[in-house]
Amino acid sequence: MPTEKHGVGRPLGERVRGALRDWSVPRQVRGQDAERAAAESEGSRRLRPRLEEADRVGTSICPYCAVGCGQLVYARGNQVIAIEGDPRNPINQGTLCPKGSATFGWMQNPNRLTTVKYRAPFSDHWEERPLTWAMEQIAQRIKKTRDATFVKTIEDGVPVNHTTGIAELGGATLDNEENYLIKKLLAGGLGMIWIENQARI
């Protein structure tokens, strides 16, 4: 807090009032302990854990490894204010490893991507693009490649109904429902067979 450091943080009157309110000597004269009550500040008197500021507490599961630790996600408004171990969960009983403990730092991270970035072929830079635009472009790319590479039968007339021109990679970090939609749409709908995730690495 550099402003505070140079003494221009708060108006003078308020600072004087604050200093007087926090002044210990009169309390010492009244017999309070110089190590304890007499030294307590207004900030200490008012201090509360920020978990109590949460207006919503959700149950979550740690997004890192597969142990499946329970987490509690504390939010105020649309802002997560803390993520901790869920003490009710029989796996972790409130504990978390260093990665799980860092979930808040992963989620509330200044480096997070929040917009779509697009790199045109042979370009040397990212461009920001609207999400809807990107969705439409992706759908068109998939259609184009699929249409160009779809195979109905291979030699001997064995039906295969697949495309080998498009691949999907990833899924082990995703929800079951997400994996289900991926397999259903890409294999069951589009006929993709290059579908893989981290299970083999």
Binding site: P63, I91, R119, N176, I182, A187, N197
Partner: protein, 867 residues
């Protein structure tokens, strides 16, 4: 996990993590549990505290797990089967096996075909090897007079060029419906599994174990003694493994070897026992159950293949439906899946639209995918929260492959290496690739995290837990559910007017999920209800997969998950009632575990053949004669009302499905209901684990003439060269691994300051002995090289690494964490630059845990000093 599947019937961890606290001995091998699964490790420490359990760590490196272990056994990376084979021999030769358990619950007594020849006879090969195909024909591995399909995935029995006609094969396959396998309960028949096993492992003496693995004999024997001491009626031992086993070209067989040990010691299906696969991603089990994998359909159904007899539904079902055991229900699950996917377009008359499912034509796993991108046959890639530029293998090829794509979609939380390869990769830095020459069109879409989206994860012990959405994701961040739902909508719109039959699957794909809110987020519970299954067309939830039908009256997206949403308004993954200290400790009211909320699989084996607990101490499930049911601390993983003395009525043969199993067959997914000490089918590299050297090894196989896995998957080409045996240019064994402070490809931790600062840079761990030899001290820059590439790192000289004496040679081992890349706060060269594209024949998993390399002091841009 074909190994556990081939041994016990299902490929998942047999036991919940918290059950480790009931163990009397825990062996951690192929895992650095304290570092990579710290919260699971708490149960190991509880076992020490509660039961005085012995904790054993077997590993090439002395890790934070070793520091907490009672016994640490150093081994050479890749020598695990030699070590485990030694344990099997110790158990057999010393008569330490749990006789009643082994006799009743395993296939120890089963007699094998006459034609079976062991590695003892063929110098490291089993009978049936077809060298031209680098593959086995498994005909001779079968039970006498009958074929038993494996319970996991590869339901067929591979007959190769055995000369049997399809009819003859069919007779053999159906034989098990007419009689139980031939056995010798005295275990004396030289062709019974027990004797075959004994002979196979006879050469794995403690002396050989020491010679092959480098582990001192006394240490090895101390491990054996602890295991034997802590197994039996009164005591149980648990095993934990992770990718320290799977990341080998013999990885599947390593796990198989542990399965044999655990079966011989009677530790499967019992509290404090089992084999716990410790997996590394939040829903990696879920993404195997509901597979984003090429060779599986949801619920471990086989993806149709053009290389098998799968041309029509009838052929497919004939090939894949097991005659006996639970898998006899296969058609119900396939038809229910097709109904769920194609809705009313599926009908019996059109084979439920089976032909709409794409057929695979080979290995489409990540390893060949890498090469297919490089070769240009793959034009577009959808990358969903995976970072192959760091976590792939032979990553220079991965990155060049990415640069060779027409288009790439990356959905990530941060800008990963796989999204930034076109301007920041080492290939660009070195000028091998030029940004202006890279034609890949890239869409980098921001992803949402749990807490910002709702859904379920399946953890390493099959527990399916719900996570709430608490806030909206920031900006344009979206869930994958949102992405794929809306992508599907757009694609359906693009194909709306198509009349081409090849587009019919997409046009008829059921895709009617309700959405919520302004962002039109699909309702996740609706998807979970479909996964669970409901009646068709009424859509009434189904409570158990027993109720699924093959007549089109039920739809289910993943049959093993049936029960997860058993009735309207009851999403069991949200159940949050854990047991108290007086409770059974199986926490049946906490979320849902597949199958049918059974927590400890094969738990019939926790009772003796008569249905009584083996001991008071290890009480878990038992037969209540009055209630005529199995009762205890868990849901029975067995027909609940089948008495222990039940016998199949062979007079009514052919018997199908569970009718062919007796009351003493806890492994109901297997055709014979037994744990497979010997795997007659399901594995491509042999029925018994055998020590082969890693693809790249400093030594010749000290045990056999056969050097490495005979069925190994290799892609030998100029951009993926392999090192010769004992290549003097690459004299050191290297192993790669994770650190507790980072996660996988590093994206979720290298960008987070609080974890990045804890391990801020990549490093190379080496022993003081090797350090002295190469003049390297801690902090020195070092160059690590393989034929695939060279990287620079920082040396960390430590006593935790040690040279081992292997077959008369001193073998130096070095190690590198593979999390690092150029993005984020914590950076380092990509260790997977060094690894090769080589695979286990069963699982196509690479060999990052044991290969060879060279190390020198200095910088990458400096020439090596003249010696």
């Amino acid at each position: 996990m074909p190994s556990l599947g081939a041994s016990f019937g299902r490929g998942a961890a047999t036991t919940p993590q918290w059950d480790l606290a009931n163990a009397d001995c825990i062996v951690v091998m192929g895992s650095n549990m304290a570092e990579n699964h710290p919260i699971a490790f708490r149960f190991a420490l509880q076992a020490k505290e509660k039961n005085g359990a012995t904790l054993i760590h077997v590993d090439p490196r002395f890790t934070r797990t070793s520091a907490l272990a009672d016994l640490y056994a150093p081994v050479r990376a890749g020598s695990d089967i030699a070590f485990l084979g030694g344990i099997i021999r110790y158990i057999l030769e010393g008569d330490h096996y749990f006789k009643e358990y082994v006799l009743n619950y395993s296939n120890a007594a089963t007699i094998l075909e006459e034609g079976y020849q062991d590695t003892e006879d063929l110098d490291g090969l089993f009978s049936g090897f077809v060298s031209s195909e680098k593959a086995y024909d498994g005909t001779t591995w079968q039970y006498r007079g009958m074929d038993v399909p494996a319970a996991f995935s590869e339901h067929f029995t591979h007959h190769g060029d055995s000369g049997l006609s399809p009819d003859e094969q069919n007779v053999r396959a159906k034989e098990i419906q007419h009689r139980p396998p031939t056995t010798d309960p005295t275990l004396q028949d030289p062709r019974c599994v027990f004797q075959v096993l004994k002979r196979h492992y006879a050469r794995y003496t403690p002396e050989e174990v020491e010679r092959v693995s480098g582990c001192p004999r006394e240490t090895f024997l101390a491990v054996c003694e602890a295991l034997v001491r802590n197994s039996g009626r009164e005591r149980t031992t648990a095993w934990c493994y992770a990718v320290g086993w799977t990341h080998h070209t013999t990885g599947v067989q390593m796990i198989r070897a542990a399965a044999i040990v655990q079966t011989l010691l009677g530790n499967i299906g019992r509290p404090g026992g089992g084999i716990l696969a410790l997996r590394g991603h939040a829903s990696i089990q879920g993404s195997t159950d509901i597979p984003t994998l090429y060779n599986l359909l949801p619920g471990y159904l086989t993806q149709p293949s053009a290389q098998k007899r799968h041309a029509t539904l009838a052929e497919y079902l004939a090939a894949e439906t097991a005659p006996t055991g639970w898998w006899h229900n296969y058609p119900k699950y396939v038809v229910s899946l097709l109904r769920a996917w194609y809705g009313d377009a599926a009908a019996e008359t059109n084979d439920w639209r089976y032909d709409w499912l794409p057929k695979i034509v080979g290995d489409h796993s990540q390893l060949p995918m890498t090469l297919a991108m490089q070769d240009g046959s793959i034009k577009g890639l959808l990358l969903m929260g995976q970072n192959p530029a760091v976590g792939g293998h032979n990553t220079p090829v991965v990155r060049k492959g990415l640069a060779n794509l027409e288009w790439l979609v990356v959905r990530e939380v941060f800008e990963s290496e796989s999204a930034s390869f076109w301007y920041r990769s080492p290939e660009v830095e070195r000028g091998e690739l030029r940004t202006r020459d890279i034609g890949t069109e890239i869409f980098l879409l921001p992803a949402a995290l749990p807490g910002e989206k709702e859904g379920t994860f399946t953890n390493t012990h099959r527990l399916i837990q719900w996570h709430d959405q608490v806030v909206d994701p920031p900006g344009d961040c979206r869930s994958e559910t949102w992405f794929f739902y809306h992508l599907g909508k757009r694609l359906k719109a693009l194909y709306e007017d198509s009349t081409d039959p090849r587009d019919a699957a997409l046009r008829h794909l059921t895709w009617d999920y309700p959405t919520k809110g302004q962002r039109e987020e699909p309702d996740v519970e609706t998807i979970l209800r479909e996964i669970n299954g409901y009646t068709w067309p009424g859509r009434h939830q189904i409570a158990d997969f027993k109720d699924l039908k093959d007549d089109g009256s039920t739809a289910a997206g993943c049959w093993i998950y049936t029960g997860v949403f058993p009735e309207d308004g009851h999403n069991t993954t949200r159940d949050r009632v854990a047991d108290g200290p007086e409770g059974p400790g199986s926490h049946l009211g906490w979320a849902f575990a597949w199958p049918s909320n059974r927590r400890l699989m094969y738990n019939r084996a926790s009772a003796d053949p008569a249905g009584k607990p083996w001991s008071e101490r290890k009480r878990y499930l038992w037969w209540d004669a009055r209630a005529a049911r199995w009762v205890g601390k868990d849901n029975p993983d067995f027909p609940a009302d089948r008495p222990p003395d039940f016998e199949p009525d062979w007079t009514r043969a052919p018997l199908t499905g569970m009718d062919a199993h007796d009351g003493r067959s806890p492994f109901m997914m297997a055709g014979d209901g037994k744990a497979w000490l010997f795997a007659p089918s399901g594995l491509k590299d042999g029925p018994l684990p055998t020590h082969y050297e890693p693809k790249e090894s400093p030594v010749r196989n000290p045990l056999y003439g056969q050097q490495d896995n005979p069925a190994i998957k290799t892609w030998d080409r100029p951009d993926n060269p392999y090192h010769a045996i004992g290549d003097p240019a690459y004299p050191y064994v290297i192993t790669t691994y994770r650190l507790t402070e980072h996660h996988a490809g590093g994206i979720p931790t290298r960008f987070v300051p609080t974890t990045a600062e804890l391990q801020p840079e990549g490093f190379l761990e080496l022993s003081p002995e090797l350090g002295a030899q190469l003049g390297i001290t801690t902090g020195d820059p070092v160059v690590v090289s393989t034929a695939r590439g060279s990287i620079e790192s920082k040396a960390l000289v430590t006593d935790r690494m040690q040279p081992l004496q292997v077959a008369g040679h001193t073998v130096h081992q070095v190690g590198m964490p593979w999390h690092f890349g150029w993005q984020g706060y914590a950076t380092g060269d990509v260790a997977n630059t060094l690894t090769s594209i080589v695979g286990d024949p069963n699982s196509s998993i690479h060999e990052g845990k044991a290969f060879t390399c060279n190390v020198r002091k200095g910088r990458l841009d400096q020439a090596p000093a003249q010696s």
